[in-house]
Structures are given as structure tokens and as C-alpha cells.
Symmetry: C2
Subunit: 345 residues, 2 copies
Amino acid sequence: MSEKATSLSDLGLYGLIEHFQKQYKPLNTSELPAMGEDACSILTAPEHLSSTTLLLEGINFDLTYTPLQHLGFKAVTVAVNDLLAMNASPSQISINIGLSNKITLEMLETLMSGIFAACEHYQTELTAFKPAASLTGLTMALNVTGKENKKGLVRRSGAQPTDVICVTGDLGGALMGLHLLEREKRVLQSNDHSQPVFGDNEYVLKRQLKPEGRTAFLTAMEKLDLVPTSMTGISEGLATSLILLCRSSKTGCRIYENKIPLHQNTLKAARELNYNPLIAALNGGEDFELLFTLSLEVYEKNKEGLPEEVSVIGHITEEDKACRMISNADDEIDIKARGWGNLNI
Amino acid sequence: MSEKATSLSDLGLYGLIEHFQKQYKPLNTSELPAMGEDACSILTAPEHLSSTTLLLEGINFDLTYTPLQHLGFKAVTVAVNDLLAMNASPSQISINIGLSNKITLEMLETLMSGIFAACEHYQTELTAFKPAASLTGLTMALNVTGKENKKGLVRRSGAQPTDVICVTGDLGGALMGLHLLEREKRVLQSNDHSQPVFGDNEYVLKRQLKPEGRTAFLTAMEKLDLVPTSMTGISEGLATSLILLCRSSKTGCRIYENKIPLHQNTLKAARELNYNPLIAALNGGEDFELLFTLSLEVYEKNKEGLPEEVSVIGHITEEDKACRMISNADDEIDIKARGWGNLNI
């Protein structure tokens, strides 16, 4: 065996996926499965999709400030979002859960009540519940199965030069919510008598603690007979999603700093935290919005009637133009994915 | 919120599943989903099945004595087994993996080579690989999707009184392998210079470290045109599987101590470890054999031609007869499931 010891952080998250994708020899197809897509098609039942999400204590959530009911709801949202990101609707969910001995039945009931509420919200049947013991904190693996929407699946790989780049909702809020919670945790740890002070930051706290997937947006697009040329979820910041979409589509892109949608409460929290809200939008995570492209023709025909949550942030270019953002000072800045970034591996 | 703090171990593993199964209100069916089945049907694509397996360091494996390549192979076996246990064949697998910073690229390559080998062994395409950082040890979530075999799914719930109870292979070996490894770990920890001594215990070590699912058995049964009336996997000991099968089928059972298949190497290792091999078979785990029932008529017609790995261990009774084992001394002993048992929650 080799004595080399290469750190995983040398490759980064997506480098690691590509590394093993190249090593794997498919059994039945000449094509490599798209191992890094948001969800994967069920080979024996095309039109159907499956995606698994793994959530680990200390990485994906901190039980010191996360209400268990919200955690249950959010876990389902994270899982469901991978299907939404391909224009599919979830129909059932299974949950495997590793329980440490600090978790009581009452705590688990609170967590499960959030999962049940999310199942109802997303009209998704819970079909498996597999508890197990854990020595290493609360661990959840959620599998979501569903079906493509009427207009068919939308993949990351369909963007073409001149396509218009759009996002739903606003970005960076979930990260600002996280930083507020982390700040309050430090205050609480240093002073037993103080109470958390969230002021009027409910919006960003809700973005962090109880995000909701964009099901209504997909329904609206279907009613308008609009099909994106490509789409992906924004779970690890706009920069990562843009680069994945452009790499899959073999294109470049230009986005505009002043077009990136930032909520006024995100801007306010960012000021309070002395944090650059643009960095939060580009490299933050967990906004659970959708990034998609429309052909220029379709966009021009429908621009007045797009769902109100849509913002146009730029356009797709030829691949050799790279992925860049035009800053407010009119500079072209390379867009970089954060890889493992703040995951501390 | 309630101030009660009920320990999860008061309910036991299957008590916990039933607890939440009763609390859940299904969306679209009047029937409660069978949340504890080995795998679940895909609601939007009947005939197709999905199952997720969560494997946690310190609970499901110990990296101090588990070769990473075997761990990769075994992880796929554990996942695939849930589909085999319902008479289905796996067609694709996805893996989410939480990686702690002690895992190097070279270690991950060894683990993945075992996963790749198992994918080839089970003719199952790897369609998603999602790595993430973990602060709490190596964590794997594997989802397997597949399709029912030609004769259709076999559930736990189909057993009828007078049906013959069968198992594949032999039982208790994997637990004896585990105890040998644990013993060697203690020796190695107390003395840096000693080497592990496995003697001629390769059989039970392989049962623990590199188990294989019973795909060939299912193919053989299909060729013989034989369909079990009920079936489940034996992953947590014969006792738990028998009780789950009888509870689902609303029956009791009688099995015979002297019919339980024990490999001669399991008996030998049990002597060496001063362990009761019957307890290993009933309450051990990870044998990954199949427990199934045949109608008496079908059994009588085919008993000479059954696949050689099949042992008949007893018969199904009416529910009020309970689940009991006839000992070699002709006593009737209640069969008890171990619940969380050695999971130390």
C-alpha cells in the first residue's frame, strides 16, 4: 500500500467527486454517471428520481441553538431541495437516524414532529423510519424519491451561451442567521444570565432555522409553460452552484454584482455583524434557492410575466470566457467555489 | 414542553419504530406505511424498491481492525441485503460519506475500491457519490434502488400456520468473528509487539469482515419456480427476524434448537471464546442470511430439490401459540428479541 498521505482538502469537495467519478468503471453504460448531480434518475424507472442527504451534528447543525422541531423540518427541506433543483416533485421520504444517549424520547418526538410537518408541507409520504444507536452525535440520512414534473427533468448541463441566468428569492440570509446564532451562543456561554438578543432579525434566523423549498415557483413556471434550459440548487453559495452549472454545461458566465438579490434584513444583519453581504451570497450556504437559465428568446417573450421571486443576475457565455462577476466598480472578478472551505476537514 | 425524559432504551429499537409509526398520519393512504420493512416500495413506481442504510464508526465498524477495502464491500452488502430480503435485485447505489480529518485520500481510495468491487459483484451501478466533512468519525449512508424479481416481492407479512420456516447458510459466525477481532484488539493494545493470532478462524472472520448477500440463492429459487410466502433478512440475529416476521404475519412459531445451522468453525471459535454458539445464532448480528417460509404443500413437493444452502428450522403456528424454541432437552423456551441490546444507547 502507498505510504503517501494526501489530505482530502488538497482536492476540495468537487475535486474529490471528480476523482472518484474518473476511477469508477460503469457496468452498463459507456457514460459516467453524473455522480455530483443534485439527484439521480432511477435507472430501472426513468422519470423517477432519488437523492440521499446526510446531516451530521457539529457540521450541519448545532443542537445548542437549533430547535429540534425546526431541525426536523429543515432536514426534509434539504433533502427535498435536491429533487426540486431538477424540476421534480418529492413523493416519499425515508429517514435513518443515529441517536446518541443524550437524546430522550421527548426530544425525538419534537424532532419527528418537525419531520411530520415537513412531510405534510411538501405532500411527501414518510415510508421508512430506521433508528439506530450512535456514539458520535445525532446523525440523519434522508432519502427522497419522486417524479419529474410534467415538462421533464432539468439538468445542470443544458445551459447555452446567451442564456439568461436567474435565481429565486434572495441570497446570503441563511449565513447571516447562522452567524447571529453563533454570536449568541458565545454570549450565552460566557454569561449564564443573558438572554439571546435577536432584535428584528427574524427573517435571517428563519432563513437559517426553517428554510422552505421553492415548490410554488416550480408550479408557477409549469403554469407559464416555461422550462429552464438548466437548473441546480443553491445550497453552498451562488459561486459553487454557478461553477457547477457552467462546468456541466461547458460554458462560462457573467453575472453582475448589483443584480445579486440581497434582502434588506440580510444587509442589516451583515452591517451589525460587520460581514460583507456579497461574500455571504456568493460563498454562504443553505439558502436553498434555485439557480436556472432561460434561453434569451424565451426570456424576452416572458420577462414581464415571470414569477415575482425571480431575479436576473447575468448571462451564459462561451466556455473560454470563464466564470466572472462584473463588480459595481466595473471590474471583472473570477468566481471561485469554496470547496471544503469552512467545513474544516 | 414536557419535562419528562424517557430513555429510548425503555422502548427498544422496534418499540421506537412502532411508536412513531402510530404517531404518523399518512397523506394519501388509509394504511400506515410499513416503516420497519427491510426496504420500501417506490410509491410512484411500484415494482421498484428503495432502502437506505446508515453506518456509523464505533457502532457498525471499528477502524482499528477493519480493513478499509472490506468495509467498503461490506457497506454495499448491508445495503443490498435489504432488497434481497424482499426478493428484489439491486440496480443502483448511491453513497453519502462523512469524512473526518484523519481520513486521507489514499485511505478513501482503499475504501472506495471495496465499494467499486461490491458494485461489480452485485451488478449494481454507482450513481451518486456525495462526500462531506465529519467532526464525528467516518459515516456512510448508502441508498440502494432496485426492482422486484420476476415472481414479485415477498414481504414479512405472508406467513401462514403450518408454513415451514427456513434459513439460508449458517448463523452466529459473524458475531464470533467480531469477538475474535475485539480480543485481538485488546491484546494489541496491551502489547505493542504481539501480532494478531487468528489461527484457522478465517471462516468466521470472513463472515464478519466481508459478508456476501444471497443473490445466487434467489436466482436458484426463481429457477425452481419457488416463491416464499414470507421473507426477511437476518441482520440482527435469528430471534429478532423471527419475531418481526411472526408479528407482521400475525402468527406464532416453533423452531428447534437442533435444527439451527451452525458452521463447524463457528462452534470451534465459540469454544475458544467460551461463548454459547446458540446465543450467537439467536442474538448475534450481521450474518446477512435470509429467513423465509414455504407453504407445507410446496415444501413437501420440493424438499429434495431445495438449494443446498437451505435449512428447515421449524414451522409457523397460530398467533396465540407465541414464538418459541424447542430446546434439545425438549423444553419450550420463549424467543426474545434483543432490541437495542448491545447497541449501548
